[in-house]
Symmetry: C2
Subunit: 215 residues, 2 copies
């Protein structure tokens, strides 16, 4: 297909596709004349993934290259390819060195994940994100128990079984990575929106005591 | 107590407290001499809330004033005070005018919440956030069914019962608002971190097929 058809079928503007070509995120088409190239299904599949990484993942070009390289490496098992994409999407929290509050939170997180028997890499950015939230809650006087954390873990595990189970495992590597990126980012938003809606609904049904201002 | 003791007991640096005083977020102490003011328990409670709004909520000063005004208005029921805080923390999504995909997503969200019987204000920012995520998933070729959404709603409802139920309902209005702000923001982070950890663990246990690169 020509560039114009690639644009039409993917829904990505021609100028954007040209930008991806210049950045090497999309391989060049096959030159059929001095001014015309032919693009194939492979371009369409890759374009879908690149768009997901740019628009939904909002990743910088260097991270996009890393995810594409993992997807292109046939020796890389699918689990690690998906992990590369998920880690690229996650904010990374730098641990505070020699801070006993941080160390306690981190060791609680590691003990919890160990106790659950979860297979999660030591470098997973979500470990630090969780430890930081736990540390900050405690620092501000809001106790966090292992039982609290375990109940969040259990809810998350139920959702993950459904979410990972519904990935298109037979649609090819690029489609799998695209689905992981799009769904991870957007279902995070779905989950957060429902948290807030459910909190409002729960608060609306509570018989709150009358508390005078300034109390 | 003196300013230095207020700082020590709250853990907030003196310079930061002075900034809050200048901005009127904290009322002045009682002047006991030309250079010394006395601060009380009321200052300590309010300081805890202001710090939560600034540091954890990362709210602009105008939003902080709005939340404090709601907390100070004795005619404002607690549910609405908490709502003011939760809405101030939520990103607001502007609907796309005359976009049939947006309208479909929004009407699905409204139908779902109506069907669940949830008491959620028409202006709740989480409605728009949810509609936008649903619209984007569909636009990128990832179908979203009402059943999918309902199962997220049910998980969220269970968590909200525990979270709202554990708020310190007898600790006073300022402490309640402080707890809502701190916990809403930080337990969002806890929930997201566990989502990602659970996804990694689930993926690690799947017998993924071998998919050749470029597929």
């Amino acid at each position: 297909m020509r560039l114009s058809e690639l644009s039409e079928r993917s829904g990505v503007p021609v100028a954007t596709i040209k930008y991806y070509l210049r950045e090497g995120l999309l391989p060049p088409g096959e030159a059929v004349s001095a001014t015309r190239s032919e693009y194939g299904q492979e371009h369409l599949r890759r374009l879908r993934l690149v768009r997901a990484l740019v628009e939904v993942g909002q990743l910088p070009i260097a991270s996009i290259r890393r995810v594409l390289a993992a997807a292109d490496d046939e020796h890389e098992p699918l689990h690690l390819v998906l992990g590369t994409a998920l880690y690229a999407l996650s904010p990374r929290v730098e641990p505070a060195a020699d801070d006993p509050e941080w160390e306690r939170a981190e060791s609680d997180v590691n003990a919890l994940l160990g106790g659950l028997g979860w297979r999660v890499d030591r470098t997973a950015p979500a470990r630090g994100r969780l430890a930081q939230a736990v540390m900050t809650l405690r620092r501000l006087g809001h106790p966090v128990s292992m039982d609290d954390l375990r109940s969040y873990a259990e809810s998350a595990a139920r959702r993950a079984t459904t979410e990972i189970g519904s990935l298109p495992a037979d649609a090819g590597r690029l489609a799998m990575v695209e689905a992981v990126v799009v769904r991870s980012v957007l279902y995070d938003q779905v989950a957060l929106a429902f948290r807030h809606l459910a909190q409002e609904n729960e608060s609306a049904h509570r018989p709150w005591p009358h508390l005078p201002p300034g109390s």
